[in-house]
C-alpha cells in the first residue's frame, strides 16, 4: 500500500484566536518562511504540503482559517471532513488559550468523530528572548513603536507549559509549543499528526469513497484515482 505515487491525503484545519500566528505556522511549515506582518486571513487560505513518513507519503491539505470571533460561524465550512486540526494559541495571551479551549470543545462535538487535534502554543520566541535578555523588549519598542502588534506590552508568558500540557492530556490532545518565527517545534507538529493518522483506514475509505460520500461522519477523503491533475507541489505557494 505504500506506493509513492499515491500519497495519503490528510485534510488539516487550523483554528484559533486572531493574530496568534496560524498563518505563520503554516507558512513556516510549507515554505519555511516567516513574515512579520501577514495580512489577516479572510475566510480561509488553502495550502498543501507533502511529507514523507517512513515509507509513506502524506499530503497535507491545510485550511488556514480566519481567527476573529465573528468569522467563527464560517468555520464549520472549513473543518468539515477534516482528519486533523491544529488549534493554536499565543502563549503570551490567556484569552487566546480560552479561545483555544472552546475550539477544542467545538471540534470534539461538531467535527468528524476521530479528528486528531493538536494544541499548539505559538510565539515561543517572545518569551524565550525576554527570558534570556530583558533588554530585548525595550529594543523592540524603541525600534518601531508601530511594529508591536501585540497589545500586551510585556511579552511575558501567560500560559505555562504545564498548564497547557495538563489540559491537553485531559482532553486527549497532542501538545506542542512552537515559534513560527524561529521555526522551533513547527515541523514536529505535523510529523506527530502524520504518525497518528490511521493510514490503512484512509486508503480503504478512499477506495470506498463513492459509496459513502454522502455520509458526513465517514472519514471521506478526496479520491486520488479520480484526480488526474494533482494540485501538486507547485500549489504550495
Amino acid at each position: 500500500m505504500s506506493e509513492n505515487q499515491k500519497p495519503v491525503q490528510v485534510k488539516l484545519v487550523l483554528l484559533g484566536e486572531a493574530a496568534v500566528g496560524k498563518s505563520s505556522v503554516v507558512l513556516r511549515f510549507v515554505q519555511n518562511d516567516f513574515q512579520e506582518y501577514k495580512e489577516p486571513t479572510i475566510g480561509a487560505a488553502f495550502l498543501t504540503q507533502k511529507c514523507r513518513l517512513e515509507d509513506k507519503v502524506i499530503k497535507f491539505e491545510i485550511w488556514d482559517t480566519a481567527g476573529q470571533e465573528r468569522f467563527r460561524s464560517l468555520a464549520p465550512m472549513y473543518y468539515r471532513n477534516a482528519l486533523s486540526a491544529v488549534v493554536v494559541y499565543d502563549i503570551t495571551s490567556s484569552s487566546s488559550f480560552d479561545k483555544a479551549k472552546s475550539w477544542v470543545k467545538e471540534l470534539q462535538r461538531q467535527a468528524s468523530p476521530n479528528v486528531i487535534i493538536a494544541l499548539v502554543g505559538n510565539k515561543l520566541d517572545l518569551v524565550e528572548k525576554s527570558e534570556e535578555n530583558e533588554d530585548y523588549l525595550d529594543d523592540v519598542a524603541s525600534f518601531d513603536q508601530n511594529a508591536v502588534s501585540e497589545p500586551s506590552q510585556t511579552h511575558s508568558r501567560a500560559i505555562s507549559r504545564d498548564e497547557a500540557q495538563a489540559y491537553a492530556e485531559e482532553s486527549n490532545l497532542l501538545f506542542f509549543e512552537t515559534s513560527a518565527k524561529t521555526s522551533e517545534g513547527v515541523v514536529e507538529v505535523f510529523t506527530e499528526i502524520a504518525k497518528k493518522i490511521p493510514h490503512e483506514q484512509i486508503l480503504n475509505s478512499t477506495k470506498s469513497r463513492a459509496q459513502d460520500q454522502s455520509q458526513q461522519n465517514n472519514v471521506s477523503l478526496n479520491s486520488t484515482e479520480n484526480q488526474p491533475k494533482q494540485v501538486g507541489d507547485n500549489c504550495a505557494c
Binding site: P40, I42, F46, R70, K229
Partner: protein, 1038 residues
C-alpha cells in the same frame, strides 16, 4: 452571539428606500413631490424624459431609461431659480436652476398647473430652509480635487466661480486626498492613461457639474467603466456612493469622534491594533507611521460610530485600500455608506449580509450555469470557500490592486450587483477548468492563478493587435456586464429576500449552539434543560420591548439594548427582559387571566411590577455587570429549581438578605413578607393571606425575643446583633425610638436597617405554618417549569402566539405567515376588544385569574369585579403588621385598576414590537408589484426606442444568433423578447451619439470601447461575437 434581535428587526427595503438608494440620498425619505418632467443641462444637446423628485434637502431627476441620466442636486447648491417663458407651449411650466458651479439645469414640468404650483411652493420653502447651508458650500468645494482640476487652467473656462483663484499649485495642501499623492498610486500612470482620463473628466465636469452638483449622463457611465483616474478616484467614489453628502452635512464629526474617545480602548480597538501592520503591508504607506496611523484612526473612529458593528477583519484591508485614494474623513463616510447602505450586514457581528450574499451567489450560479453547479454539488465543492473573500474584501485581496479598484469603481457606480456579476463571470470564464476540479482546494488554486494573470492577453497568439490587446481582465468585465446583464438590482433584492429567513435561522441556531457550548456550568439541567433555558432566554429577548416604553415606536429600541448591554461575545439581558423571561418560567411571576366572552376563550399574560424581580436579578448577576447572560440564568435557576424544603427556605432568605450578612433587617423582613404576598396574590381565598400575617407576627415575636435575651446567646452568634444594636442606639437615638413605635410594645429597640433576624429563626417561623411549609417544600420549586416554546414562536416571536393559538390558528408555514399578516397585533387587539364588548353586553364576559400554585381549593371562580382586593382584608391582619405595610410602598397598596393599567401598558409594549412584522409583510407585496411595473415600463420604453435603429437590431440579431442560449433565459420562459430586448438595449445605445473624444483621446477611447459593455458602437458585431464566443464555447462543452 449579539445582534440576535437586530436580525429580527430587519425590514425589506420599500419603494422609497430603493428610490433613495438609487439616487444616493443620505437618508431614506418620501419625496415631497414627484412629477414627470423633461430635463436637460444647458450647453448640451441632450434632453431626457423622466421624473423629477423634490425631497427636503434634494432635487433629483431620474430618466425613464435608467441608463441615461440621473441627477441628485442638494438644494444648498442651487443659486438661482428662474421661470422660463413657455409661449409656444402654454400651460406648461419650465424652470431653470443655476447651480453653484454655474451649471444651468432646465426642467420642464409635464403636468397640470395645480401640480406645478404645488411644486413651486414646496421648492420655495425647501430652498429657504437650506439657505443657511449655502455658506458652507464654498469651503467644502475647495476641498474637492475636481475644483482644482477644472480650475487648473482657469483661462479657458467661463466658469462663474472664482473660488479657485487662491489655489496654489500644490493641490495636496488644499483638497482632500489619499495616501497615493504621497506614496504613489498603484499601477503605471502611463499604462493607465491617467492624463487622458483626467482630460476627459475635466471636459465632463465643465459641462455637467462636479462634486456636489454632478449630473450623470450616459458618457459618465462609460468614463467610470474604463477606470477612474487615480487622483480623482476618491472623490468620485464619494459622489457615486453619495457619501459626499454625509460628509458635507457632518463637518468635523470625524475629528470629534476621535477626540471624544482619545485614549479609550475597547475590544474593537484591540482587534484593530492587531491588524494595523497586516493591511496591504506591501504598499509603501503601510510601512510608515503616516499610513498606519491614518488606518488606525479611521477604523477606530468607525468602531465608535457604529458600535454594534465595531471592527471586522477585512475592513482593515478595505480601509487601507480606500485610504490610498481618499482622505481619512472621506474614507470614514464612505465606509459608513458601505456598511450601512450598500452592503448592510457584511461586517456586522453575525456577518449575516456576507452569508446571505453567498447563498444568493450560489443560487445565481445554479440558475445561470446549472451544469457547473451540478458538478460542484456532485464533487462536494463549496463555492463560498472561494467566493466569500471576494465579496468581503470587494476583490481587493483576490486580484492585483489595479484591477480590484476597477471593480470597485463599477461597484460604487452600479451597486452590489457588480460583485455578483464579476464573480459569475470569473466562474464562466474558468468553467472548463472548474469542471475538472474535484475539491475545494483545486477550485481555490484555479481562481488564484486566474486572478494573478488578469493582465495577460486572452489570446496571446493572435496577430490582430486589437484582439491581442484584450486582456483577461477586459474579458472578465465584458462577460460580467454583458453575459450577466440579466443580473439586475432587482434580481439581487429578490434573491436576498428569498434566502434571508433561512440565513437568520441558521445564524440563530449557530448562536444557540455556541452559547450553550460556551457555558461553563450546566448545573443539574443537562443539555436538554439548558437548551430549553436558551429558548426561553431567546424568546424573552425577542418579545421584550425596550425598558424605555416612552420612546416613540420608530426608535430602534432593540439596538439600544444590545448596544448598551452587549459585550459583543455574549448576549445579555436587562431587568425588563429578565422579568419577561421569569414570567414565562415561573407561574407566580406572571399574571394570567382567562378571558371568556362567549365567542372565544383566551389567556392573557402580563408581567406585574414587584421588587422581587429586581432582587432576583441582582442575586443572579454573578458577574456584577448589571445584566444577565445565559450562564447567569442557568446558575440562578439551578439554585432554585432543584431545592428541597430547607434549601428553598435558605434561598428565599438569602434573596432578601441584600448584604449577605446572614441577617435580615426589619425592612428586609417586611420586604420578604411583601414578596410572599406578591407570590400568593392570585390564590383564591384568605388562607395564604392568613399564613403570611401569622408569619409576620411570629417572625417579629421570635426575633425580638432573641434580641431581648442577649445573655443567653451572647457567646453565640447573637452578640454581633447586640453590639450593632447598641451602636445604633448611640448613633441614632431618634430612629431607634421610631422603630420602637412600630414594634410590638415592649420589644427592644432595633433600627429598621440593623441585623434583626437570622436564618435559623426564619426557618423556624416558616416551618410553623403548614401552608408556608408546603410552599417551600414543593410549591416554589414546582412553580418553575419550562413550558414548551413552540418552534413557530421562535420563528415569529413578534406575533403573540398565546392568543393566536387559543383561537385555533396555527402559525407555521405559509398559512401561518399569511394569517400572521392578517392578524397583525392591531387587528387582533380590535377583534379581541370587540368580542369582549359584545360579551359584556350579553353578560358573558368573564375574566378568571389563574392561580400560580392552586394548592388551596381554586374552584371558586371569581369574577373580575368581585376579586377580593387585598385592602378589604386589612381586618384580618394584625394591626402591627398593617401599620408596617402601610408605611412602605408596595404593590400591595395598588388597586385592581392599577393592574388593569399595567396590562394595558404591557399590551401597548407588545404592539410596538409587533409592528415591524406586519410592515414587512405588506411592504413585501408592494415592492414586488412595483418591480413588475417598472419592468413593464422599461420594456415598453426600450421597444419603442429600438424601432429607430433597425440597422443596429439586425447586427444585434446576428450577434444573438452566434450566442449560446443562456441558462437563465431558458428558465424565465416568458422572455424570448427579453433576450432580444437586452441586445436591443445595447445596440440602441450604440446608435446614439458619442460626444466625447478629441483626436488624441481616440486611442484611449478605443480601449474604452473594447471593454465597454452597454455600448459597443465601435466594436462591430463580428468582433463582439469573437469576444463573446470564447466563454460561450466553454459553456457549450459543459
Amino acid at each position: 452571539m449579539s445582534q440576535l434581535t437586530i436580525l429580527r428587526g430587519y425590514k425589506d427595503p420599500d419603494k422609497n428606500d430603493l428610490l433613495c438608494d438609487y439616487l444616493r440620498l443620505p437618508q431614506s425619505s418620501t419625496p415631497l413631490i414627484d412629477l414627470s418632467a423633461t430635463f436637460g443641462v444647458h450647453g448640451t444637446n441632450q434632453v431626457f424624459y423622466g421624473n423629477i423628485y423634490l425631497f427636503d434637502h434634494f432635487l433629483c431627476f431620474k430618466s425613464y431609461d435608467l441608463r441615461s441620466c440621473v441627477a441628485t442636486i442638494p438644494l444648498y447648491s442651487i443659486r438661482r431659480v428662474e421661470r422660463l417663458s413657455t409661449i409656444n407651449q402654454p400651460g406648461t411650466l419650465a424652470l431653470s436652476f443655476i447651480l453653484w458651479h454655474g451649471l444651468k439645469l432646465v426642467v420642464q414640468l409635464n403636468t397640470l398647473k395645480p401640480n406645478s404650483d404645488d411644486f413651486c411652493n414646496h421648492l420655495k420653502r425647501c430652498l429657504r430652509d437650506q439657505l443657511g447651508l449655502m455658506k458652507s458650500v464654498k469651503g467644502f468645494a475647495k476641498g474637492c480635487y475636481s475644483e482644482w482640476l477644472v480650475g487648473e487652467d482657469i483661462d479657458d473656462t467661463n466658469d462663474a466661480n472664482d473660488a479657485n483663484d487662491d489655489i496654489n499649485h500644490d493641490p495636496t495642501s488644499t483638497h482632500h486626498h489619499g495616501l497615493g499623492f504621497l506614496f504613489k498610486f498603484p499601477g503605471d500612470p502611463k499604462k493607465l492613461r491617467e492624463k487622458s482620463k483626467l482630460r476627459l473628466w475635466k471636459d465632463y465636469f465643465r459641462l455637467h457639474g462636479r462634486n456636489i452638483t454632478l449630473v450623470r449622463y450616459p458618457q459618465f457611465t462609460r468614463l467610470v467603466q474604463v477606470g477612474l483616474p487615480s487622483k480623482l478616484r476618491g472623490e468620485m467614489w464619494e459622489i457615486l456612493s453619495g457619501s459626499i453628502y454625509d460628509r458635507f452635512s457632518h463637518p468635523g464629526l470625524y475629528q470629534q469622534i476621535l477626540d471624544e474617545h482619545a485614549g479609550e480602548s475597547t475590544m474593537a480597538t484591540d482587534e484593530i491594533e492587531k491588524d494595523l501592520n497586516r493591511s496591504l503591508p506591501e504598499y509603501g504607506a503601510y510601512q510608515d507611521p503616516v499610513g498606519i496611523n491614518a488606518l488606525r484612526r479611521v477604523l477606530t473612529a468607525y468602531s465608535w460610530r457604529n458600535q454594534e458593528l465595531g471592527y471586522c477583519q477585512a475592513m482593515n484591508i478595505l480601509v487601507a485600500a480606500l485610504l490610498i485614494y481618499m482622505s481619512e474623513e472621506q474614507t470614514f463616510w464612505f465606509l459608513d455608506k458601505i456598511c450601512t447602505r450598500i452592503l448592510p450586514g457584511y461586517y456586522s457581528a453575525s456577518m449575516y449580509g456576507t452569508l446571505l450574499d453567498q447563498k444568493v451567489f450560489e443560487h445565481l450560479v445554479q440558475r445561470t450555469m446549472p451544469s457547473l453547479h451540478e458538478h460542484f454539488t456532485a464533487s462536494d465543492i463549496q463555492l463560498s470557500v472561494s467566493s466569500l473573500p471576494w465579496f468581503l474584501s470587494l476583490y481587493i485581496n483576490s486580484m492585483p490592486l489595479v484591477f480590484a479598484f476597477r471593480i470597485i469603481d463599477c461597484f460604487v457606480a452600479f451597486g452590489p450587483r457588480v460583485l455578483f456579476q464579476v464573480g459569475l463571470a470569473a466562474l464562466k470564464v474558468n468553467s472548463d477548468k472548474l469542471m475538472d476540479a474535484t475539491d475545494d482546494g483545486m477550485v481555490l488554486s484555479i481562481f488564484r492563478d486566474y486572478f494573478a494573470n488578469l493582465e495577460e492577453s486572452v489570446s496571446p497568439q493572435s496577430s490582430d493587435p486589437k484582439v491581442l490587446n484584450i486582456t483577461n481582465f477586459s474579458e472578465l468585465l465584458v462577460v460580467a456586464f454583458r453575459e450577466f446583464s440579466v443580473i439586475t438590482d432587482d434580481t439581487i433584492i429578490e434573491e436576498r429576500r428569498r434566502f434571508r429567513g433561512g440565513i437568520i435561522k441558521s445564524i440563530e441556531l449557530f448562536s444557540k449552539r455556541s452559547a450553550i457550548r460556551n457555558l461553563k456550568d450546566y448545573g443539574k439541567f443537562g443539555v436538554d434543560g439548558v437548551n430549553k433555558i436558551f429558548d426561553h432566554f431567546f424568546y424573552a429577548l425577542c418579545k421584550t420591548p425596550t425598558p424605555l416604553a416612552a420612546l416613540p415606536p420608530s426608535t430602534p429600541s432593540k439596538l439600544r439594548i444590545s448596544e448598551e448591554l452587549s459585550d459583543r461575545t455574549e448576549t445579555v439581558i436587562d431587568l425588563t427582559t429578565f422579568r419577561v423571561f421569569l414570567s414565562d418560567i415561573a407561574s407566580w411571576a406572571r399574571d394570567e387571566k382567562m378571558i371568556t366572552n362567549g365567542f372565544q376563550q383566551r389567556v392573557v399574560r402580563s408581567v406585574p411590577e414587584n421588587e422581587i424581580y429586581t432582587k432576583m436579578f441582582h442575586k443572579w448577576d454573578y458577574t456584577g455587570r448589571a445584566a444577565l447572560g445565559l450562564q447567569d440564568l442557568v446558575k440562578g435557576l439551578n439554585g432554585v429549581m432543584f431545592n428541597g424544603l430547607l434549601d428553598n427556605i435558605e434561598w428565599f432568605f438569602t434573596l432578601h438578605d441584600s448584604d449577605n450578612d446572614g441577617y435580615l433587617t426589619k425592612d428586609e423582613l417586611v420586604q420578604l413578607s411583601e414578596s410572599l404576598l406578591f407570590i400568593f396574590r392570585a390564590e383564591p381565598g384568605d388562607a395564604y393571606l392568613g399564613a403570611v400575617s401569622k408569619f409576620m407576627t411570629n417572625a417579629f415575636e421570635y426575633a425580638d425575643s432573641l434580641i431581648e435575651q442577649p445573655q443567653a446567646v451572647k457567646e453565640g452568634d447573637k452578640d454581633k446583633a447586640e453590639t450593632v444594636k447598641k451602636e445604633a442606639k448611640q448613633k441614632d437615638p431618634l430612629s431607634a425610638t421610631e422603630a420602637s413605635d412600630n414594634c410590638i410594645p415592649g420589644s427592644p429597640q432595633v433600627n429598621n436597617d440593623d441585623p434583626y433576624i437570622n436564618l435559623p429563626t426564619f426557618r423556624m417561623v416558616c416551618l410553623a405554618d403548614e401552608l408556608l411549609e408546603a410552599f417551600f417544600d414543593q410549591d416554589l420549586t414546582r412553580s418553575f417549569s419550562f413550558e414548551h416554546v413552540p418552534q413557530s414562536a421562535i420563528d415569529h416571536p413578534l406575533i403573540d402566539l398565546s392568543t393566536l393559538d387559543d383561537i385555533g390558528i396555527g402559525s407555521t408555514g405559509l398559512v401561518g405567515n399569511i394569517l400572521g399578516g392578517i392578524f397583525s397585533k392591531d387587528n387582533k387587539e380590535m377583534l379581541n376588544g370587540l368580542a369582549d364588548e359584545i360579551g359584556k353586553s350579553f353578560g358573558k364576559h368573564h375574566v378568571e385569574y389563574r392561580p400560580a400554585f392552586g394548592r388551596v381549593n381554586s374552584q371558586v371562580e371569581v369574577e373580575e369585579k368581585r376579586r377580593p382586593a387585598p385592602e378589604e382584608k386589612d381586618s384580618s391582619i394584625v394591626s402591627g403588621m398593617a401599620n408596617l405595610l402601610s408605611s412602605t410602598p408596595s404593590w400591595f397598596s395598588r388597586s385592581k385598576s392599577d393592574h388593569g393599567r399595567q396590562e394595558q401598558e404591557q399590551v401597548h409594549e407588545r404592539e410596538m414590537v409587533e409592528k415591524p412584522s406586519s410592515g414587512t409583510i405588506s411592504s413585501g407585496g408592494g415592492s414586488g408589484e412595483q418591480a413588475e411595473e417598472e419592468a413593464l415600463l422599461d420594456h415598453q420604453h426600450t421597444s419603442t426606442n429600438g424601432e429607430s435603429h433597425l440597422a443596429s437590431i439586425k447586427a444585434a440579431q446576428e450577434a444573438l444568433a452566434n450566442r449560446q442560449a443562456f441558462a437563465i433565459d431558458q428558465r424565465d420562459d416568458n422572455d424570448d423578447d427579453d433576450t432580444l430586448d437586452d441586445s436591443l438595449h445595447s445596440t440602441e445605445e450604440a446608435g446614439g451619439e458619442f460626444a466625447i473624444g478629441s483626436d488624441e483621446d481616440e486611442d484611449m477611447m478605443d480601449e474604452v470601447d473594447a471593454i465597454d459593455l452597454d455600448d459597443q458602437h465601435a466594436i462591430g458585431a463580428e468582433e463582439a461575437a469573437k469576444i463573446l464566443n470564447a466563454p460561450v464555447d466553454k459553456d457549450q462543452r459543459i
